[in-house]
Symmetry: C2
Subunit: 256 residues, 2 copies
DNA sequence: CGGGATATTGAGGGATGTCAAGGTAGGTGG
DNA sequence: CCACCTACCTTGACATCCCTCAATATCCCG
């Protein structure tokens, strides 16, 4: 089915770009210059598969702060690799209650839940002006048949998300407010470190309310716990800027 | 790599059966007589793929109540389809705290998290004497290359688990004790119904403590909420036996 | 029939949610 | 460039849900 790719670079691409343009600006594609090349989806693949996968990325798209990349229950269009910026995913249940189910930063994969039912199970909203790389699902499927390694890798990515969610369930189910926040900060720290950013000095892209929603608590509780950590010398907080002063201490708070 | 299968029916099978025998009794394989044929993993596949997948199931294994099918951090051996009985999965975090992360009944798939890292991320314990069908991962991988539909289907199964976990996160993050229990009972009810059992009359295979752990609350709270639902005429509880008398009422409790 | 596991029920307290009142930052328009 | 305005954050007082601890009851398995 390799024929589909040449087609894509011609009329089809232009068409899709135009369609996408209605939702957000489409910009040039170029994986080689991407800062997240090492941590993005292709990173786990052998070189030829990498190159092949990169040829699949059919467009970049800018998403402005507050805009949605996809809506809950939208038909599944494909996965998105996060090239710049950050997102939250929000789930609305039958009763109308909203909850933040995850935060995403550079190189991470958005939309995986959509592989299940053909619809995105949650809404993805940009926390700041961001850029994503689209991996349309029809091509992803074709390429998977061509490259078994990709298929296996995709499964592994999904399974990793399952494992991560289990961690979050643990956090929500059996940790106190302080422990949850410590775990949250340490998780963010580790993810920033993976991208080559400082693990101890970063900006929170999300509001206290969003953190609270994710952690299953109120924004006031988040604020108070942050103040407490600051008072105890574990971190320094100045609005959205966080500096971790005592990583081990924070880990101890989480662990207890 | 089809050659691997004939081999498996000979010496290899006997060898593996013997190895497995050390952990639990191995019994004859026969998908055609399985009561969960319609809801198990192959159900979503076209007939030829189904037959092929069934040839892959290399053994059944009995697991007695309280025994573990796999331990947390065990090397990934493969997936298990649950043929009879029920399981819980338990996660132990760095601090030694345990939490039940899921319950599994007939036809459901155990061990999916292991596809991520090559290790099972949680322990699976039988809640009653049970039987599972093993799908060894090396063969699963070979067959996936042969049958792209299986690979896609496997991805969908994983993605479905992600979606389900999101639901659990929602439950843990933003619902009260009563709402959580109502959601739990309705989820169980729907799953029993899918298997052709009564949606309104079933036995809880797990203890109050296990329910509490899963729902992020104490066993006393679970007991009190069950008593409350009973007093309100929503359900009848007699120890582990539950009868749902007012499904809509229960849904209303969950929804609020 | 006995004993350990499991479940029920009560009393009390603490963590966290709720409500409320400012305070701060950053963007927008004059 | 300043003033305003909105969104976000902080802090306090109070309420409440649920956890903790404890005593008793019941079930299930050997």
């Amino acid at each position: 089915m390799a024929a589909a790719v040449p087609t894509l670079t011609g009329r089809t691409l232009a068409l899709r770009a135009a369609q996408a343009g209605a939702r957000g600006e489409v910009i040039a594609r170029d994986c080689s210059s991407c800062g997240f090349r090492r941590s993005c989806l292709p990173a786990g693949l052998p070189a030829p598969e990498q190159a092949r996968l990169e040829s699949l990325v059919y467009m970049r798209r800018r998403v402005k702060r507050g805009e949605a990349l996809f809506q809950q229950d939208d038909a599944f269009r494909g996965l998105y690799a996060l090239r710049a910026g950050s997102f939250k995913t929000v789930l609305v249940d039958a009763g109308g209650r909203e909850q933040v189910t995850g935060f995403f930063i550079g190189g991470e994969l958005l939309g995986t839940g959509g592989l299940a039912s053909g619809r995105y199970p949650s809404r993805a909203v940009a926390l700041e002006d961001s850029e994503v790389c689209g991996l349309p699902h029809s091509l992803l499927e074709e390429l998977s048949q061509e490259l078994p390694a990709l298929q296996r890798y995709l499964c592994a990515v999904l399974a990793r998300e399952i494992v991560r969610n289990h961690g979050t369930m643990m956090l929500l189910g059996s940790m106190s407010a302080g422990e949850r926040l410590a775990a949250f900060l340490l998780d963010l720290s580790a993810r920033y470190a993976r991208l080559g950013f400082s693990p101890s000095d970063f900006h929170l892209r999300m509001t206290r309310e969003e953190i609270g929603s994710y952690l299953g608590q109120t924004l006031e509780t988040v604020s108070r716990q942050l103040a407490r950590f600051d008072a105890e010398g574990l971190i320094e907080v100045d609005q959205k800027h966080v500096r971790i002063r005592d990583m081990d201490g924070l880990a101890r708070v989480r662990g207890a």
